[in-house]
């Protein structure tokens, strides 16, 4: 059974269409990414899939349950880490987890054990009995992630899970998201602004812009569709034409452009071919001054699909008010 099937899903707010007729299938056990700029409709989509909001048109099946007909069964098997803060700051970390587990009717013994497990995972064991009020932003985020995992969800929604975390913690969370997915087979739907995160984690990425999916593929294919890898080689200015001729013979070379003393070769698997190129050039008695292999980045792919660079950390009004709320709660 597919984990999630979206069927012509649309959500409009007045004249604004936040999610525009999206149909897509997420397979069971997949780590699926939604990548898009601010206001693309990612959170709106997640809200609908987690039964917090209703679509204007269309429907979706979560593990076979219809979002209209069967929301309570859906809530039982999903976990979610919200983009915006959602902890009870007047309770301790442990109490937050405990109440969460009680809402899922987890037996007492299992609850205690599981709380310790998830706390250890996010490195909060020694702070768990402090009020969340006294937690830093990163600690709160980690606690929210721990809470999302408490009840062993089969499908996990992560709305910008590593927003505001330091690089070290982010790496650790990535590692863990991967483990959850690979070892426990949990289906993960993740939204992110961070290209690196999508690239590193996701099996498939949907690039979403203005409520529409503009591209959907594996990270590798998304990048490869943009353009080939490039090998840049710098040689003596006088030898450029000679070397160019030499490389033209090489199998797999698609295109060669030259500037003064630099030769750019389009070829797939650039890093593999680079040593062969150098060997070939040296064997003919030429000198190589520098050489590099460049892979297209997901960022380039993103720009080519959406027409803009991803607006990361730019102070949109919404982000500012979010930061404000986080501060207010602190």
């Amino acid at each position: 059974m597919d984990a999630i099937v979206l069927d012509n899903l649309t959500r409009s707010f007045g004249s604004l269409v936040a999610v525009d007729n999206i149909s897509v299938t997420v397979h069971e056990g997949e780590l699926f990414g939604l990548l898009g700029p601010n206001g693309a409709g990612k959170t709106t989509l997640i809200n609908i899939l987690t039964t917090l909001d209703k679509p204007s048109e269309g429907t979706a099946l979560i593990a076979g349950h219809d979002i209209h007909a069967d929301p309570e069964n859906i809530r039982r098997i999903i976990g979610i880490v919200f983009q915006d803060p959602s902890l009870d700051v007047e309770l301790t970390g442990r109490e937050n987890l405990n109440f969460h587990a009680m809402m899922y009717d987890m037996p007492t013994d299992e609850r205690k054990q599981r709380i310790d497990e998830v706390l250890a995972l996010v490195d909060l064991s020694d702070r768990a009995d402090q009020l969340v009020h006294e937690f830093s932003g990163g600690m709160r985020r980690r606690l929210e992630i721990a809470r999302g995992l408490m009840h062993h969800p089969r499908i996990l929604f992560l709305d910008e899970p590593t927003l505001g975390l330091d690089a070290q913690t982010r790496r650790k969370i990535w590692q863990y998201i991967r483990e959850l997915n690979r070892e426990l087979g949990i289906t993960v739907i993740l939204t992110t602004h961070y290209l690196e995160e999508a690239d590193y984690l996701c099996d498939r990425i949907a690039i979403i812009d203005h409520g529409k999916i503009v591209a959907l593929d594996t990270p590798l294919n998304l990048k490869n569709k943009i353009r080939e890898d490039i090998v840049n080689i710098e040689v003596d200015e006088k030898k450029v034409e000679q070397v160019k001729k030499l490389l033209m013979e090489f199998e797999g070379v698609k295109k060669i452009t030259t500037t003064d003393c630099c030769i750019s070769v389009s070829i797939s698997d650039a890093e593999k071919h680079l040593p062969e190129f150098i060997e070939l050039i040296l064997s003919k008695g030429h000198v190589v001054h520098s050489a590099s292999a460049i892979k297209p980045s997901l960022e380039e792919a993103f720009i080519s699909y959406t027409g803009t660079a991803i607006r990361e950390q730019k102070g949109s009004y919404k982000d500012q008010s979010r930061a404000y709320i986080r501060r207010k709660m602190g």
Partner: protein, 254 residues
């Protein structure tokens, strides 16, 4: 549909918070207590028409102040749900398997318990200051009336909260509503003393029946038979809970 565990969890959460916010409790009972002391004792010697001569104003006023405490505390539940929505915690509850109705009931019972606890604290303080109750059984019965009053006004707040987005709007609307409800309930003096026409509105005010029933039970004086008061309260509470359940299931969007 009704999930006892979830109701219990939400109730427990309120209790933990209540026990932690000592200042808030103090704050909640300070105002009624001041009024009780200043007005109750200040008007002690004044003869107000409609109050039986053998009942002092202080005695008469205690049930009124209890009604006021219940009313104001109950109205805070809607505010707290609304601010939870604004600060995101409501989402966390709404995404658990608990049904909307259970969530609504958990909040209602948690709020009612805190309101009643505060009322009991006020009764105890009043008793220290010479207030005499009819008996223990009547006191217990009055707790049931207090539950009905709390449920009615908590439901009112939850319905209001389901229609609003902003904490300030809620605050303004309840401020506008609470004082008329309080003043028209006969909490301070018999409503017959008010100018023509105004007592008419008191008939539609649930707090009128609540305060009257508490008076009947605690000091043995009531305008209507206690049983009549209770029937009106039970019917109103039932309707309000149903409306609140409807509002909560259909109104709350994130």
């Amino acid at each position: 549909m009704i999930d006892v565990k979830a109701i219990y969890v939400l109730w427990l959460r309120e209790m933990i918070k209540f026990s932690r916010t000592k200042f808030r409790i103090f704050n909640a009972i300070a105002m009624p207590l001041f009024m009780l002391i200043f007005l109750g004792f200040g008007f002690r010697q004044i003869n107000i028409p409609g109050i039986p001569p053998d009942i002092g104003y202080f005695e008469y006023f205690v049930p009124g102040i209890i009604g006021m405490t219940l009313l104001f505390t109950a109205s805070m539940v809607g505010l707290s749900v609304l601010s939870e929505r604004q600060f995101g915690f409501l989402k966390e509850i709404m995404v658990t398997p608990a049904s909307r109705v259970s969530i609504m009931l958990g909040r209602t019972l948690g709020g009612a318990t805190t309101a009643i606890l505060q009322a009991v604290i006020i009764i105890i303080i009043a008793m220290v200051m010479s207030f005499q109750i009819m008996g223990f059984a009547q006191l217990i019965a009055s707790l049931f009336v207090m539950l009905l009053i709390s449920v009615i006004f908590i439901s009112m707040g939850l319905i209001l909260a389901s229609r609003l987005r902003d904490v300030h709007d809620y605050y303004n609307i309840t401020n506008f509503l609470l004082f008329p409800i309080f003043l028209l309930s006969g909490a301070m003096f018999p409503i017959q003393n008010l100018p023509l026409g105004i007592p008419f509105f008191s008939v539609f005010n649930p707090l009128t029946y609540g305060v009257d029933a508490i008076r009947g039970l605690l000091i043995g004086v009531s305008a209507l038979p206690i049983i009549t008061d209770c029937i009106v309260l039970i019917v109103t509470a039932t309707i309000m809970v149903l409306l609140s359940a409807y509002a909560f299931t259909n109104g709350y969007r994130i």
